[in-house]
C-alpha cells in the first residue's frame, strides 16, 4: 500500500488542521460580503469542529479500542447541518426575493 510509507498523523496535527480550517472559516465569515460564501464558510467552521471530534475519538482509546462516541456525534452533526443548510438556503432565497440582493453591505437596515 503506497500510504503505508507515510507517517501516521498525530493528534496535534489533526487539531492544527482543524484550527486552521476554523480560522479560515471565521475569516471568511468576517471578510466576505456574499451571504452564500459566508454560509459556506460557516459550514467549514462546522466541519472543523467535526474534525476535532473525529480526531479525539480516534486517539482516545477505551480498553484498547477507539472511543466511537465522538464519531457518532459527528454523524448527528452532519445530519443536523444538512437540515440547517436547507433552512439557511431557503432564507437566503426569500431574502433575495425581498431585497434583490445578497450582498451584506447592502443589507444594513439593522443599523441603530
Amino acid at each position: 500500500m503506497p500510504f503505508d510509507s507515510l507517517p501516521t498523523p498525530t493528534l496535534n496535527e489533526y487539531l492544527m488542521i482543524s484550527g486552521l480550517l476554523f480560522a479560515i472559516g471565521l475569516a471568511g465569515v468576517i471578510i466576505r460580503r456574499n451571504i452564500i460564501v459566508i454560509f459556506m464558510c460557516l459550514e467549514m467552521m462546522l466541519a472543523a469542529a467535526s474534525l476535532t471530534l473525529v480526531a479525539f475519538s480516534r486517539f482516545h482509546t477505551v480498553d484498547g479500542l477507539p472511543d466511537y462516541d465522538g464519531q457518532m456525534l459527528v454523524f448527528f452533526v452532519i445530519t443536523v447541518a444538512a437540515a440547517e443548510v436547507a433552512v439557511g438556503l431557503a432564507i437566503i432565497v426569500s431574502l433575495y426575493r425581498a431585497r434583490q440582493t445578497i450582498q451584506t453591505d447592502e443589507l444594513t437596515s439593522l443599523r441603530g
Binding site: 471565521l26 465569515v29 468576517i30 443589507l107 439593522l110
Partner: protein, 603 residues
Amino acid sequence: MENLPWFLLLIPIASAAIIQLGLKKSAALSSALSTISVLATFIIAVLLLGKDFASSFNWIEAGTLRLNIGFKLDQLATCMMIVVTGIGLLVHIFSLGYMRDDPAKARYFGCLSLFMFSMTGIVLSSNFVMMFIFWELVGLSSYLLIGHWYQKDTAADAAKKAFLVNRIGDFGFMIGILMLWAITGTVVFEAMNGASLDTAGTYLAGTAILLVFCGAVGKSAQLPLHVWLPDAMEGPTPVSALIHAATMVAAGVYMMARTFFSLGITAENMGILGNAPDVIAWVGGITSLVAALMATQQNDIKKILAYSTLSQLGYMVMAVGLIAPEAGMFHLFTHAWFKALLFLGSGAVIYACHHEQDIWKMGGLLKKMPITAITFLIGTLSLTAVPFTSGFYSKENILIAAKDSPLLYIAIGVAALTTFYMFRLFFIAFLGKARDSGSEDAREAPVVMWVPLALLAVAVIASPFFSQFFPTNGHVEVHAVPHFGDKLVLMSLGAFATGFVFAFLLYFGKDKEPISIPLFRNKFYLDIIYQRLVTVFQDAIAALVHFFDEFIIGGLLVGGAARSAQGVGNIFRRFAQNGSLSSYAYLMGLGAVLVIYFTVFAK
C-alpha cells in the same frame, strides 16, 4: 361630677356638628342651639368653679410614647373657663342682635360653637400635645370667623394673614413642646417638674421656654408677629370681642402661665432659664409701648381697641416674663371682661351708625345711646386703671411685679398712653355733635345688645372680687380700698392724670385731628416693611430654589443621568450597531475569543 368636664367639650362640638350638618338652612334654630349650648357650658363651668381634679384616657401608646386625652381642672383652668364661657355667652346673646340680618347666620353660629369647643379644649387640656391640637383648632375657627364676610377681599386677606402669621409662631411652639418633652420626659402638665430643667442646662432650658413662648407670640400677637391682630378686625365685631380681645389672644398668656406653674418656676429659681424670662418680659414691654403709640393715631374705632388689646397683652406677657404669671393671669381675667365690653360697645355703636367705623364721623352718641355710652365709659375707666375698677387692681399687680425693673417706666408710660387714646376715642365718638348722617340717626341698641353690655359692665366692676377663685398662690393683692399712699399707686394715678389732661386739651370739642404723626398712624411702617422683606426674601429663595431645581436637580442629576445613558447608548449605536453583518460577526468572534481567553488562560 367626675365626668362633667367632658360635657364642656362635648356640648359645643355637638352644637357645631349639628349646625354644620343639619341646620345650615335654619338660621333661627342654629343661633338658638348655639346660644343654648354655650349657656349650658357656662352653667357647668360655674358648677366646676374651684374644683381641682383631673381625668384622662389613653389615646396613643407605642413603646415609651404615651399620649393622653384628658382634662386637668385647677384654679387656673376653672377661672379661665368662667372667662371663656361667660364672655362667650354674652357674645352669643349680643350676636343674636348684631348678626340678625346676616345671610350666613347659621355658618356664623356654627363657627362660634367650633371656637367654643377649641377654646375649652385649650383651657382644659392636661398635656401639651392635646393643647397644641386645640391651639390649631382655635386658629382654624379664628380664620373662619375673620373671613366670615369672605366676599370682601380685605376680610379674606386678613383671615389668611392671621392664619399664616400664627403658623410661624406655632412652628416654634411645636419645636418647644418637643424640646420640653425631651428635657422633662413627659408632655403631661402634672408630671412635669422643674428639676429636670437643671440637668438640661441653662441654654437648653431657656431655648425650650423661648420656643414655647413663640407660640404665645403668634397667638397673643406680640412683636414681631403682631401684624395679624389689627387686620383681624375685619371679622364681625362680636367675634373681635370674643376671640381677638378676650379669649383666644389671651391663650398665649394662659399657656405660658400653665407652663411656668407646671415647671414650678418661681422668682427664686428662674436662673435655670437663663435670659429667657428677660426676653419674654422685654418682648411684652416693647409690644405694649409700640402698640399704645400706634393706637394714639388710629381713626377706626375697632383698630384703636385692637391696638389697645395688643398693648394690654404686652402687659400680661411682661408680667409672665417677670415671673409673676399670677399677675398676668389676673390682668387677663379683668381685661377679658372690660375689653369684651369695649368691643361689644363699639359693635353697638357701629351697628347704630350703619356700619360706620371712623370715629371722626361719629360724635354726640352719649345722648343718643346713653346705655351704650355709659357702659363704654365704665370699660374705658377700667382699662385706664381708675381706682375701684377691676383694671386698677390688676394693673397694680403688674406694676408691683415690675417695680425692680426698668420695665416699670415703660409700664407707667403705657398707662398714660392708654388713658390718652381711650379718652381721645371717648371724647370724639361720644361727646360733641354728630358729624355724619350715620351718627345723626343713631338709636340706642336693641335689648339683646344692651343687656350683655350691662352685664359686662357689672362684671367689670365686680371681677376683682371674684379673685378668691383666682390662681393667686397668695401673690395677687386686691384691697377693697387702694393704698393711696403707695408710690406705685401714685405713679399709676399720675399716669392716668397725664393722659387724661393731654386727651382733654387736644381732643375735647374738636372736630378734626389736631395733630398728625404719620409714624404712629402708619403703624411704624411695619406692615410695609414686612411686605417688602417677605417679597425680597421670597423672591430670593424662589430664585435660589428655581436655580437648584432647574440646574442642579434638572440639569445635573436627572438630566445628567439621562444624558450619560444617552451618550453611552449613542457610542454603542454608532460603533457597534452599524448594520454591517461582518462587523457583527467580527465582534462575536472577538467576544468568543475573549471568553475562551478568560475562562481557560487567565487564572
